[in-house]
């Protein structure tokens, strides 16, 4: 078992949640989403995001509109749909619960070790 694979899987698991979170307050095009995720060090390479975006769009969680760009090709601006918002709320509560659980488990371990 490679550590890289596990890391990638962990990251991929929360990626969907993070993409939706980025789009929660404002619409964004791919490069903006990417820069947010990259700044947070959640994404190493960009390739992963494209299939994810398409998948979310196909699940009606996202919608997009085309906007002209002064430099380069036209941009796809993504926004959350109604179901997307509901989905995100559900995911964040799950995430909080999960974070809690992970915190408890890992801190317990640490206490025992010390």
């Amino acid at each position: 078992m490679k550590i890289e694979n596990t890391k990638a899987q962990m990251r991929k698991g929360v990626l969907e949640f993070c993409i939706l979170s980025v789009l929660k307050d404002e619409d964004a095009y791919v490069a903006e989403i990417l820069s947010t995720l990259k700044d947070a060090k959640l994404l190493v390479v960009e390739g992963t995001i494209y299939p994810l975006l398409t998948r979310l769009k196909n699940a009606d969680l996202l919608s997009y509109r085309w906007e002209e760009s002064t430099s380069g090709p036209p941009r796809k601006y993504y926004s959350l749909t109604e179901t997307g918002h509901l989905f995100l709320t559900e995911l964040s509560s799950t995430w909080n619960a999960l974070q809690n659980a992970v915190n408890i488990v890992t801190s317990q371990k640490n206490n025992k070790n010390e």
Partner: protein
């Protein structure tokens, strides 16, 4: 100086170096392939192209600047490798869709590994399949070869049936790794590395040779001597093996070729035998009672024998010529199919042939002979000048009769003598033959021609039977039973000796020993009238009192009062008083 290409990426125009273009094209192709199983792959590709265009756009200041390999590499490092695009379906399984096709990729398949081949790559292929080192498989072969040679057969079978891993995808499948872009790339890279390594080795050895010429011994030559010794020993053994395998190859080719040529010649000659009448061929036709077309039988035999030898021949060729083109699986399986069909045909012919002997029937014709008690009958055989006079069972000869018809001739004649209470003698001619059915056997038996003549107390029996060649040979035989009234005397000429059974049995009264003698027929018994006494084997004197016994052993008297025993040991008298 570099040639450039113009490309349109997501509606934006770019100048790009040709090598950079090729790299980008390969990258996009690889992504397309890795996304082939995903939904909406076209849309994803369009998004990716748009992003790449954006990234390129950031890197060029004006329209005249060219995208170089450096930019493409940068973009690829940002975007990630093809497998990064594949979303792990197990994590993101939110819609039911088929991913079975992906699973089949990782299945290991058995191929022959020609890259690491010794003879044909069967061993290394099997080794890949079981995930072990090829040396163990090779050792197992050697053990199997010594164990009754089953290894050879199995090896040949695997060689024929297992395809060679030719494409990179097949080579990856052989090792059990999943077939994806990066693995294929890795494999190809490995191949290049192998080649470059080999080239390096060659250049190393050349420089080494140059050093040797200069008599400049390297300081660590002693250290490497032992290694080179074992290397050269291994090389020598390998060479020996190779020579041995080539020798086997030549042997196989020779055996295969000779057999094939012989088969082709014989097939050809059987095919034309009808026209040019090769001697001996007609005999085959006579034996063919099942009336199976001869060409079909010979074709079946040709394929049944020829195809295995063809494979042997092919195998030999393969051993000799390393990069021999395969005859293809279709050809192999077709040949296998033809072989099985011809074997089945031969079995069917065999059963048909055997079923012709299912019934053995007799056609009996009785004729009275004017012989009464006290008459003397002389029996003689009449031989034909055309045939030999010896009696032979289950043998036949094909000749032409006086009218030029093809006739089957057999000397399967038996003569028996039995006593009868009738006043007149009878000759019973029993014609026997085999057939597929009762009717066929009877018809064949009726078609047997057999003749005899009776003149002046002499019975002249033909020593042969004939039948039209159309009837085929199917155990035709004639039994002659001579029923003689008691007290008649019969004299068998010595030429009947072969045709009379040696022993007396089944009421058969005259042994072949007793030819040339006058024999008197008694009630179920016979008596030789002019045989010398010493010819009598057994003394049998009937004595009315049961106490006295006289036979070959001597005389025995066993009464209540006395016991007398006279034999070759002497006389022994015992009184019971």
């Amino acid at each position: 100086m570099n040639k450039t290409v113009n490309i349109n990426l997501a509606g934006i125009f770019f100048h790009i170096d040709e090598d950079a273009y090729l790299k980008l094209q390969g990258y996009l192709e690889a992504i397309k392939r890795s996304l082939a199983n995903s939904q909406g792959s076209d849309e994803i590709i369009a998004d990716i192209e748009a992003r790449i265009a954006e990234l390129f756009n950031e890197r060029v200041q004006n329209n005249k600047q060219v995208i170089r390999l450096k930019e493409v590499d940068e973009v690829i490092s940002i975007m990630g490798q093809p497998e990064d695009y594949v979303v792990d379906d197990e994590i993101f399984e939110d819609e039911p869709h088929t991913n079975s096709s992906q699973k089949t990729h990782t299945k290991k398949k058995l191929f022959r590994d020609a890259d690491n081949a010794y003879i044909s790559g069967v061993s290394s292929g099997v080794a890949h399949y079981f995930g072990i080192d090829a040396i163990w498989v090779r050792l197992a072969w050697i053990l199997l070869v010594f164990g009754l040679g089953t290894g050879v057969l199995l090896y040949i079978l695997l060689w024929i049936l297992v395809p060679e891993a030719k494409t990179t995808a097949e080579k990856i499948m052989m090792t059990g790794e999943p077939v994806n872009i990066s693995n294929i790339e890795k494999k190809i890279k490995d191949g290049f590395e192998n080649v470059s390594q080999a080239a390096k080795n060659v250049s190393d050895s050349v420089s080494q040779a140059a050093k040797n010429v200069d008599f400049k011994k390297s300081t660590n030559s002693i250290k490497s001597t032992s290694r080179t010794f074992f290397d050269s020993l291994a090389d020598a053994v390998m060479l020996l093996f190779k020579i041995f395998s080539k020798f086997i190859g030549i042997l196989l080719i020779f055996i295969g070729a000779v057999t094939l040529i012989a088969l082709i010649i014989s097939l050809f000659s059987v095919g034309v035998a009808d026209i040019i009448h090769i001697p001996g061929f007609e005999n085959i036709d006579i034996l063919n009672i099942g009336n199976t077309p001869i060409w079909l039988v010979s074709l079946s035999i040709f394929f049944a024998v020829g195809i295995p030898f063809f494979f042997l021949f092919y195998l030999g060729l393969k051993i000799l010529i390393n990069n021999l083109k395969s005859i293809g699986n279709i050809a192999k399986f077709t040949l296998l199919g033809v072989w099985i069909i011809s074997i089945i045909c031969l079995i069917v012919f065999g059963i048909r042939q055997a079923s012709e002997h299912a019934f053995n029937e007799s056609y009996i014709k009785k004729t009275a002979l004017p012989i009464t008690a006290k008459d003397t009958l002389i029996v003689k055989m009449v031989h034909s000048h055309k045939f030999n006079s010896k009696r032979r069972h289950n043998d036949f000869k094909l000749t032409h009769d006086d009218h030029g018809n093809k006739v089957l001739y057999s000397s399967d004649i038996r003569v028996m003598v039995k006593s009868t209470t009738d006043t007149i003698a009878t000759l019973s001619v029993i014609k026997n033959a085999d057939g597929r059915s009762f009717d066929a056997a009877i018809a064949r038996a009726k078609n047997i021609d057999y003749h005899y003549a009776f003149t002046n107390g002499t019975l002249l029996l033909d020593s042969y039977l004939t039948t039209n060649a159309k009837n085929k040979f199917s155990d035709q035989e004639v039994d002659l039973v001579l029923y003689l009234p008691e007290n008649t005397v019969v004299y068998f000429n010595s030429n009947t000796k072969d045709f009379i059974h040696y022993r007396t049995h089944d009421d058969h009264l005259v042994s072949s020993k007793n030819t040339n003698h006058f024999i008197k027929i008694l009630d179920n018994n016979s008596k030789c009238l002019d045989c010398p006494d010493w010819e009598e084997d057994d003394i049998n004197i009937e004595v009315s009192t049961p106490e006295i016994k006289i036979d070959n052993n001597g005389i025995k008297v066993d009464s209540d009062e006395i016991k007398i025993n006279i034999n070759s040991e002497g006389i022994n008298i015992k009184s019971n008083h």
